[in-house]
């Protein structure tokens, strides 16, 4: 049995694994992607890639494996391409990261309307974007990073539309005093993007096209116009992936999984680090991962030395969140016939008649398709204030064979919608 199991091989998980290994613990990492690195280090070149590999060298890594249940305390059930398996642990670090928040607007279900991080992830894994017309929209610093990446890979980035106001960003800018690294980073994005239009107080009203996206209707102040494009990369910030910690019984706070100063959750021996405890960006994820890794392996003194660094990065993250908070007008984008739940094709008019998730699920199946509310959940929370309910296994759709504990046959198709 490994001393420490780390779920999620992004920056926080890798940092945790590295520190736990340094303390002499045996470490196994689990990730559902084909390779380690998470979203931010996906297919990264140069220094970051090498860092990833260095940190991985002394831990065992299982990729392409999804944790779908916790059959007993100290055990996790995984589904891999080869079948299901169980893994036992003494301490557990959950670094399950975050996903993008999507908000419904007319046409947002058309092919080629994607998340901002979504299009970048696809481009990083080989999708050619050369000469493609792209509009990048939504909120947060991710938009700039995505626009720069796409531009550098030959895309014709027509516009970066940030919904936050200029004054909101300027207030944040002042709060950056004393943090030169961040300032340079922020300025670097802007300089790298010279020639690309960057509009504040600007957002998409509708996406149009017959079988796929052809144009986006943009709005800025009282002006609306049509922007012809091949891809719309649109995300309204990030939301933490709390499903697995919730399944294990970890208490949730306002921003994500609640943790103590050693990143330990309300469940003894289970730690959380990175975006899953609240959106904070790469640097906060790294330091949280280090603290969790030390603590999970018993290195409390070493963990304590990093509390100061974590505190300052948290303050920065809080400022970021305030500056880029989604504005009220975004709640009015969806029309009556705009789909909110893309899995079950449930419209906004049908969802908003209800008072909460339970009722809406019973009557409309909203949030009960293959994604299990991971997409519409963030939208509905913003639009109607509904908090997601309790989490039950399987936390991901799995083959029937995995649930039965049998070896799945190759003929048995994965039918996510069939298992609820």
């Amino acid at each position: 049995m490994p001393d420490v199991v780390v779920v999620g091989a992004g920056p926080a998980g890798l940092a945790a694994a590295r520190r736990a290994v340094e303390c002499g613990a045996s470490v196994t990492m689990v990730d559902d992607n084909p390779a380690a690195g998470g979203q931010i280090w996906r297919a990264a070149g140069g220094r970051l890639r090498r860092e990833t590999e260095r940190w991985l060298a002394r831990a065992e890594l299982i990729t392409g494996a999804r944790v779908f249940a916790a059959p007993a305390p100290g055990r996790l059930a995984l589904e891999t391409l080869q079948g299901e398996m169980e893994i036992a642990y003494r301490s557990l670090v959950l670094a399950t990261g975050a996903r993008e928040r999507f908000l419904p607007f007319p046409g947002w279900t058309l092919p080629n309307v994607m998340g901002a991080g979504g299009l970048q992830a696809l481009a990083k894994s080989g999708l050619p974007v050369e000469r493609k017309k792209v509009v990048v929209a939504g909120c947060g610093p991710l938009l700039l990073a995505v626009a720069e990446y796409l531009r550098d890979h030959g895309a014709n980035v027509r516009l970066v539309a940030e919904q936050a106001s200029r004054s909101s960003l300027l207030r944040f800018g002042l709060g950056l005093a004393g943090r030169p690294g961040k300032l340079i980073q922020a300025a670097g994005f802007r300089a790298g993007l010279l020639g690309v239009r960057y509009f504040t107080s600007c957002w998409p009203m509708a996406a149009e096209g017959s079988e796929k996206l052809e144009r986006v209707i943009m709005r800025r102040g009282n002006r609306t116009w049509s922007e012809s494009c091949d891809y719309l990369a649109c995300g309204f910030g990030l939301i933490p992936n709390v499903e697995l910690p919730a399944l294990l019984g970890c208490r949730l706070g306002a921003k994500g999984v609640a943790v103590d100063e050693f990143q330990q959750t309300s469940v003894a021996g289970v730690y959380c680090a990175g975006e899953v405890t609240g959106i904070g960006g790469l640097e906060l994820s790294l330091v949280e991962g280090e603290i969790a890794g030390y603590a999970a392996a018993g290195g409390l003194e070493a963990a304590r030395k990093l509390f100061g660094a974590r505190e300052s990065r948290r303050r920065f993250a809080d400022g970021l969140e305030r500056a880029f908070a989604p504005r009220e007008e975004l709640k009015t984008l969806a029309a009556d016939d705009t789909l909110v739940c893309r899995c079950e094709d449930v419209t906004w008019a049908r969802v908003r008649r209800f008072t909460g998730w339970r009722e809406a699920k019973l009557h409309t199946r909203c949030g009960m398709g293959p994604c299990q509310g991971r997409v519409c959940g963030g939208a509905v929370e913003f639009l109607l204030g509904w908090k997601p309910g309790s989490v039950r296994p399987p936390v991901f759709p799995v083959r029937v064979g995995s649930l039965a504990g049998a070896v799945p046959s190759p003929q048995c198709g994965e039918k996510p919608g069939d298992i609820r």
Binding site: L122, S125, Y149, K212, E344, P370, P397, E414
Partner: protein, 111 residues
């Protein structure tokens, strides 16, 4: 090496920056290709590319139809949304953004 030309997905591409982020470095693995079929059409995908990329390279934007019959394609790019589901080697409902292309794969979309 600004100005060098490399082939990405079978098309010439000019390196714009000559840094470690340029396509040549990102895609040192991508100068090789693997051949697979999407809806019966042969596609050369960069080695290491995901099946979702191969589907786009085949000129397909609609990966599947929703329960109401609407065309859908990838949204999240990271295995969360299940919008990019395709049939791979006869196995239905595979998330194309989570599976790496392999030589000889048979991929079917249903849009």
């Amino acid at each position: 090496m600004p100005g060098h030309y490399v082939s990405t997905a079978g098309r010439p591409h000019e390196c714009r920056r000559g840094t470690q982020e340029c396509v040549r470095h990102i895609g040192s693995r991508m100068t090789e290709t693997v051949e697979l079929r999407v809806n019966g059409v042969r596609v050369q995908a960069p080695r290491g590319a995901l099946v979702s990329t191969a589907v786009f390279l085949a000129g397909v934007a609609g990966f599947r139809r929703s329960v109401g019959g609407q065309p859908r394609g990838p949204l999240c790019g990271m295995g969360i949304c299940f919008e990019c589901r395709v049939t791979i080697n006869g196995r239905e409902h595979c998330r194309s953004c989570q599976v790496v292309c392999e030589p000889g794969m048979e991929v079917r979309t249903d849009a």
